[in-house]
């Protein structure tokens, strides 16, 4: 197989990691919405922690993208 073709396949396989990230992000925001629905005055406190959870989970997706770029362009 061509090295270029193998690189493309490798980079595509890296993106399977986004499966977990999608589920994780959905979980975070679903629990944020549930907790705000139960107790609307807790919105500001829970929002900060929700943003931390969002950013840390998004970082995993970005790690996967960095690995994909390393495979494609090294």
């Amino acid at each position: 197989m061509d090295i270029e073709a193998a690189k493309m396949i490798g980079a595509g396989l890296c993106m399977i990691a986004l499966l977990g990230v999608g589920i994780g992000l959905g979980n975070i925001f679903s629990s944020f919405i549930s907790s705000v629905a139960r107790n609307p005055s807790a919105r500001d406190q829970v929002f900060g922690i929700g943003m931390i959870g969002f950013a840390v989970t998004e970082a995993v997706a970005i790690f996967a993208m960095v690995v994909a770029f390393m495979i494609l362009f090294k």
């Binding site: 943003m51 969002f54 950013a55 970082a59 970005i62 993208m65």
Partner: protein
């Protein structure tokens, strides 16, 4: 279409090479240096002209509001996460937050350079945070700081499994801190440049859709700029809390 990676190139503005005993160190003034200086000047200006007496006695001006709100937010962050006696570490966390936030925001202006989009810059900041926190831990607890790898109340037969896992997760902290910031900023800028390229290549009529996408992405990038700075600071606070009060 232009190469979206051209925006991250470093150009030497004023070449300067230090000779220390046969070793040449390149300390030239690059575009990265100039933007770091602009960032620091903006931060100093924001706090110099924004903190005035009598904040609570009259309607604050915009600079006063921004500087006081930011300062109070980060001070609360440090106090909540690390306890009251960690007030001495507020300048440390505040410097990280203001430097990264202002640097990212200045990088959103067209034709500027975002210095956090280079892994060496973010790695230097994360390594600094990691080393400072480890040294603080050793100063506070002496050699007992190593108990952070074997939490209290964990059965001793688990130690050969638990200690390598804790060690690896401890050592991966600077890597995750630096790569998170670097990859978010670099990826955001690359995507912005690609969509902007589409605007030009699709012409006047078809170019409206990529233009709308670029506007939405610019808002999202500004949000990401602030959130990434906040995440860096709050993770530094959490690690500091870990070091000061063992788990």
């Amino acid at each position: 279409m232009n190469n979206p990676l051209h925006q991250f190139e470093i150009h030497k503005i004023y070449p300067l090479i230090l000779q220390i005993g046969g070793v040449e160190i390149d300390v030239s003034i690059t575009n990265s240096t100039i933007f770091m200086l602009i960032t620091v000047v903006c931060i100093i200006g924001l706090f110099l002209f924004g903190i005035k007496q009598g904040y609570h006695l009259r309607k604050p001006s915009k600079l006063e509001a921004i500087s006081e709100v930011t300062f109070r937010a980060i001070a609360n962050l440090v106090k909540e996460n690390c306890g009251d006696e960690a007030k001495v570490y507020l300048p440390f966390v505040m410097s990280f937050f203001m430097f990264i936030a202002m640097g990212n925001l200045i990088g959103m202006i067209p034709y500027t350079f975002t210095f956090t989009s280079h892994i060496i810059v973010t790695f230097a900041m994360a390594a600094l945070a990691f080393i400072v926190i480890t040294v603080i831990g050793f100063i506070h607890h002496g050699i007992g700081y190593l108990k952070i790898f074997l939490p209290e109340g964990a059965p001793l037969f688990l130690a050969p499994v638990l200690i390598p896992i804790e060690l690896i997760s401890y050592l991966s902290r600077p890597i995750s801190l630096s790569v998170r910031l670097f990859a978010n900023i670099m990826a955001g800028h690359i995507v912005l440049k690609i969509f902007a390229g589409f605007v030009v290549s699709l012409g006047i009529v078809g170019g409206v859709i990529p233009l709308g996408m670029t506007v939405i992405l610019t808002f999202f990038e500004i949000f990401v700029a602030l959130v990434q700075a906040y995440i860096f600071s709050i993770l530094t606070c959490v690690y500091l809390n870990d070091a000061l009060h063992l788990h």
